[in-house]
């Protein structure tokens, strides 16, 4: 349960903080400041994202230490793989928050939207309780396009199954694919609103 809770919190917290940080600027109007500067959309998004990736990684470090020393769950597999996975994962989940922020206008909508759009897939469809391969219907589709599914295997694999880089290479690549896709989608939505 500890490795999967790690994955759960690393999607909830970064996504909510990221989504709010962008929508906040929209709601309070300070985003207009950016429109008049020569900063373009992608610079704005990535600049916003970087600090939250850092926050997410600190978050990861604290939870890792808690898992090891408070809950005494041994890390049997490769630590570099887990750390690399966490970096990719946090980048992806902040990207997920960014995507949600790009189509919401108010902070309430962004907060509730991120909560509902991450909580339900994370708890139900990402393999935390039931393996994704046994899901059927809409749940199976959501499970396959939700980043936590892929990080959960990395987290559970390195903690309990003694897996290393070789076993989890595919998962790492799959996580990495999310990053450009999410960024480009957010950019597309953001552009539409500027026009």
């Amino acid at each position: 349960m500890v490795p999967s809770t790690l994955a759960l919190l690393l999607v909830l917290i970064p996504a909510i903080l990221m989504a709010l940080s962008i929508v906040r600027e929209k709601e309070l109007g300070s985003i207009t400041n950016f429109y008049v500067t020569p900063v373009n959309g992608i610079e704005f998004l990535i600049g916003k994202q970087l600090p939250y990736i850092a926050v997410g990684l600190v978050n990861f470090a604290v939870m890792l230490l808690m898992a090891l020393f408070v809950f005494r769950v041994p890390l049997k597999g490769s630590f570099p793989t887990l750390a690399l996975g966490a970096l990719l994962y946090v980048t992806t989940t902040t990207g997920y928050g960014m995507l949600i922020s790009s189509f919401t206008r108010t902070q309430i909508a962004a907060l509730f939207g991120t909560a509902i759009l991450t909580f339900v897939p994370a708890m139900q469809f990402s393999g935390m309780l039931t393996p994704v391969s046994s899901l059927s219907g809409p749940g199976a589709i959501i499970g396959h396009i939700f980043p936590m599914t892929y990080f959960l295997e990395i987290s559970v694999g390195t903690f309990t199954k003694r897996l290393g880089f070789g076993d989890l290479r595919v998962n790492l690549i799959e996580l990495a694919i999310f990053i450009p896709v999410l960024t480009l989608m957010s950019l597309a939505f953001l552009r539409k609103q500027e026009a």
Binding site: T104, F112, G113, I116, P131, S134, G137, E153, V156
Partner: protein
């Protein structure tokens, strides 16, 4: 008094207008109470469904083939024949949740009465399935073995015939359970967010000061936010229960929906009070978001809507009695599944109302203090 009621009413309509103007928010609420519920109900979460199983058949006898053929959908996927040396790799990647290893000469040893060993590997990281599935596999294999042996020798009949009758949900369909529990989780989530965000928004925009210079008391401001947000959620729950759960998913509802909605209204007083309380603690929306997760995740996960309260440690069980979400889940199950009337559920209603009232008082107290500081 009349003036106070009128103030609360008109302020509440302002909240409703703000809500209905936010199209994305309205769309998200609709999504939460329709598609989200359907997707949870239709995904066969808690039962053994399409479990992946592999069989390393080193015996290749009639018996070992019969065992492989005994694992049928919808419980299991078609068993995948694998080699012994692949077992570890396939279990590691999570490709297979269960593996059965049938040793060489299994049938011969069985017939010869040498008690051969059959190995079953279970991936315990697939938490829900591991336990249920291991039980199913044991039953299936022993049934096959009994069948096989009964042709060659006389197997003694079991001394007792177990006669199992399942009440309230004869086919143990999990959709009946998960759909309603999903609504309950949504109610808690939405109530806390809407009320909390309504407060934080006013503070961030500075419109709270506008309200305070008007001849209004903090009590009126808080009550207006409670009734308007509670109304939105009650309507959403009513529609979701009748249209989505009963209509679309075909879940039979045993008790009175009106009685349940009355319970929802009582519960909402508590949940929105928590929202207002958090709204007074948080100074910005991101703070509210983080506080929200600290409060709502345990309230939802430990309320008995995901796992039964009885299987939690005694300490946690006692603590969760103080959370109205626990009583909410318990009366919701009583009314909707077992058709309980008011005479059965009134203790839970009372518990929710009392804890809710207490929290509302606390929230108001804090609200008064915070707004007094602001002026």
């Amino acid at each position: 008094m009349r003036r106070m009621v009128a103030n609360i009413f008109w302020l509440g309509t302002k909240e409703l207008r703000a809500f209905s103007h936010d199209f994305v928010l309205v769309a998200l609420v609709v999504w939460a109470f329709s598609f989200s519920i359907v997707s949870i109900a239709r995904s066969s979460l808690q039962e053994l469904h399409d479990a992946s199983i592999g069989i390393a058949d080193e015996d290749q006898s009639a018996l070992s083939r019969r065992i492989s053929q005994a694992f049928l959908p919808p419980y299991f996927k078609t068993p995948r024949p694998i080699a012994t040396h692949d077992i570890e790799g396939l279990m590691n990647t999570g490709a297979l949740t269960f593996v059965i290893d049938i040793p060489p000469n299994f049938q011969r040893d069985l017939v010869g009465g040498r008690q051969p060993r059959l190995q079953v590997y279970v991936d315990a990281t697939a938490m829900m399935q591991a336990g249920i599935g291991a039980g199913y596999i044991q039953q299936i294999i022993s049934a096959e073995l009994n069948n096989f042996l009964s042709r060659s020798e006389v197997v003694p009949r079991p001394p007792v015939n177990l006669d199992v009758r399942i009440a309230f949900n004869p086919n143990v369909t999990t959709a009946w359970f998960t759909s309603v529990m999903a609504i309950i989780n949504d109610v808690t989530m939405l109530a806390v967010i809407l009320a909390g965000a309504a407060i934080v928004r006013e503070r961030e925009h500075g419109t709270m000061d506008h309200l305070l210079v008007m001849p209004l008391t903090p009590f009126e401001i808080a009550m207006s936010k409670i009734w308007s947000n509670a109304l939105v959620i009650t309507v959403a729950v009513g529609l979701s229960l009748t249209v989505v759960v009963r209509g679309l998913l075909g879940v039979p509802i045993a008790g009175s929906i009106l009685l349940f909605l009355a319970g929802v209204v009582i519960y909402l007083f508590f949940a929105t009070a928590i929202g207002i309380f958090l709204g007074t603690v948080a100074r910005s929306m991101p703070q509210l978001g983080l506080l929200y997760m600290l409060v709502v995740i345990p309230m939802n996960m430990l309320s008995g809507s995901n796992t039964p309260l009885e299987s939690m440690p005694p300490f946690l069980r006692t603590v969760m009695q103080a959370s109205p979400s626990t009583h909410f889940v318990s009366f919701a199950q009583a009314i909707l599944y077992r058709g309980a009337g008011f005479d059965t559920v009134w203790p839970q209603f009372l518990a929710v109302a009392m804890i809710g009232g207490l929290f509302l008082g606390l929230a108001l107290l804090r609200f008064r203090r915070v707004t007094a500081q602001a002026t």
